[in-house]
Amino acid sequence: MTDTLSGKIPVTVLTGYLGAGKTTLLNRILTEDHGRRYAVIVNEFGEIGIDNDLVVGADEDVFEMNNGCVCCTVRGDLIRVVAGLMKRQKPGAPAFDAIIVETTGLADPGPVAQTFFVDEDVKAKTQLDSVTALVDAKHVMARLDDSREAREQVAFADRIILNKTDLATEAELVAVEARLRKLNPLAPITRAERANVPLDQVLGLGGFDLERILDINPEFANPAHGEAGHVHDEHCGHDHHDHDHDHHHHHKVDTVDSVDSFSGVRGHSHGDDIKGISLSLDRPMHGAKFTAWLDRLLGEQGQNILRAKGIIDIDGENRRLVFQAVHMILEGDLQREWGPGERRWSRAVFIGRDLDEAALKAGFEACAA
């Protein structure tokens, strides 16, 4: 679970409203026999009863850096608390191996995540592993209806724990899952009672690690288990999104295959303002066109895009281009080569608010080589 190559402390964020089971899950993580020591950052007004030596209160101090650039909205309290915690780390004998950040049901997950990409000190010492959202099977539908934060937490997550499934019928669970998947087609949903989810489905997910973007299936995103990742650069700001590739080849277009991923059951009678949009294309992309489109999209609509991930087949390039984004913060890199028998196709998922699916699809497909 530790990012051994970088030596950075992995950070797991747990989101979910009061009563979803965060404290139960947290105490399971802390008390299970794994030999790891955690530092836990909780909201200062949050639930009590956490069974750990190192629990620190944070006060949800959100602010915008860099003259109000929204992609640089960070949590000042996390910068302060992480810096303070790191002072306990002894050379060669760490006081803790990982950090868990528990947020309230009202917290916006964006600034929490962005803190780990934007602040130079936090970035140097820690690596955001993943965001897990806990939802309560019985009450989540009502919460999603009336709380923007609840929708955002689900949409932002790398993993969704559908907890307290013993309190809902199978039909209710199916409807809940359909709605959750529509909000977030990337995050696997794990059913649980009393937060009894295997811990390897919460810890060490590598949700922001480009090396671990193994597959994105527009129909359903499978949990990605893979090798531990390595350090990569982050780029923040409208002007310096960057990819380390550049292609100027042109090829003939054969076929177009776009997949409508959401033909399944609608979980609710009305649509949510947030949804995941899946795009795919069965022919190579023009590298420069695609990166220019992605940069412009995130620059213009990054405020509304919570998460994005993609695997792109670039014309003339044998390696897969992978990217992930949190609002306007984009990371992209050429990853492993396409396998000999592997289907070469491009697919991407954008999760966001008020996204124009037709325009996204048209823009994506216009990048074809």
């Binding site: 002072k87 306990r88 050379p91």
Partner: protein, 324 residues
């Protein structure tokens, strides 16, 4: 002298007898070998006691403790054990100020009953006394607040500037307040008219600032060399350019240390080197030339004759500077 500790050094202070190290394991170590295990967690901040004897430390256990060789005592605590994030003290007034969360508390080294608590709207990141120790500046998001240290009921003078301010200092003549900002710049205010000073162009976060040469120069870290801003006359650095000394493309200055009554500047680098320079003279005197872990603590003695440092791996050094 060179010692390696098994915990991080979070601050170094020179008192009347020598260097004192504050550590991430909650202990204080004196250069002479004494040790005091005083805090339940990490020491987050430290300052020289107003008497000149011993160190006052603030910990993540919410306690403010005065340690001398062979003796330690609790001076104050924060409500519900909140972290003590910042601390300062004044030999002039004998007062000590520390922050925990949104509150700055002022206590008197000579009067154990005296205490003032000043509450801010946002979390306090730094505290600094003016040269006489009568006013206290607190940096927060959105600027800094100025309080009269001894007055119980008052409205602070607010110095506002959008952004996150992470540290604060007074110029030695008391005419300017300077804050360190999250986004690689400094901000300043001339107190007599509230005029703003913007000092930017840094490639990384500025972690420390120090005044030297009778307050005519303010040195900062955060660049490939030590950055020097002129603070001469009523206008300070307004309309003037900064200079940089010890520029080295391959490294960053992480910390600076100086004394306003002396002309030398010490700098600690992210590649583990430490140098001393006289900005009026030529060249750098490398006190530690071998590279290693980043320098995380640095101090210059009051007579500017000794320098102490520590790196990220707990290695420390104290050297006497030969007479110029």
């Amino acid at each position: 002298m060179s010692t390696t500790f098994d915990a991080q050094v979070t601050a170094i202070v020179f008192d009347s007898a020598g260097a004192v190290f504050a550590l991430g394991d909650g202990s204080v170590r004196f250069e002479s070998g004494e040790r005091a295990d005083i805090h339940g967690g990490a020491i987050l901040c430290a300052v020289l006691h107003p008497s000149g004897d011993g160190i006052v430390t603030g910990g993540d256990d919410g306690q403010v403790i005065w340690s001398r060789r062979g003796e330690s005592g609790l001076l104050a605590g924060a409500d519900n054990g909140q972290w003590i994030d910042a601390i300062d003290a004044s030999t002039g007034s004998g007062l000590i100020a520390f922050s925990a969360g949104k509150t700055v508390s002022v206590i008197d080294a000579a009067d154990s009953v005296f205490r003032r608590d000043f509450v801010h709207e946002r979390t306090v990141s730094g505290v600094a006394f003016d040269p006489k120790g009568r006013r206290i500046a607190a940096s927060t998001y959105g600027g800094a607040a100025l309080w009269f240290a001894r007055i119980a009921q008052q409205k602070p003078t607010k110095l506002t500037w959008a952004g996150s301010h992470t540290g604060v200092a007074f110029s030695p003549d008391g005419a300017f307040v300077v804050t360190i900002m999250q986004d690689n710049q400094l901000h300043g205010w001339r107190l007599k008219d509230g005029k703003n000073l913007r000092m930017g162009g840094y490639p990384s976060k500025v972690r420390s600032i120090a005044f030297l040469s009778n307050g005519n120069l303010m040195a900062t870290s955060g660049a490939q060399g030590a950055v020097l801003w002129p603070f001469i006359g009523a206008n300070g650095p307004m309309g003037r350019e900064a200079t940089e000394i010890g520029y080295d493309e391959g490294s960053l200055v992480t910390l600076v240390a100086a004394r306003s009554t002396h002309g030398v500047l010490a700098a600690g680098l992210n590649d583990g080197r430490v140098w001393l320079a006289d900005p009026a003279g030529q060249g750098l005197n490398f006190l530690k030339a071998e590279k290693g872990a980043a320098i995380t603590a640095l101090a210059l003695s009051p007579d500017a004759r000794r320098v102490a440092w520590a790196d990220e791996d707990g290695q420390t050094g104290v050297v006497d500077i030969s007479a110029p």
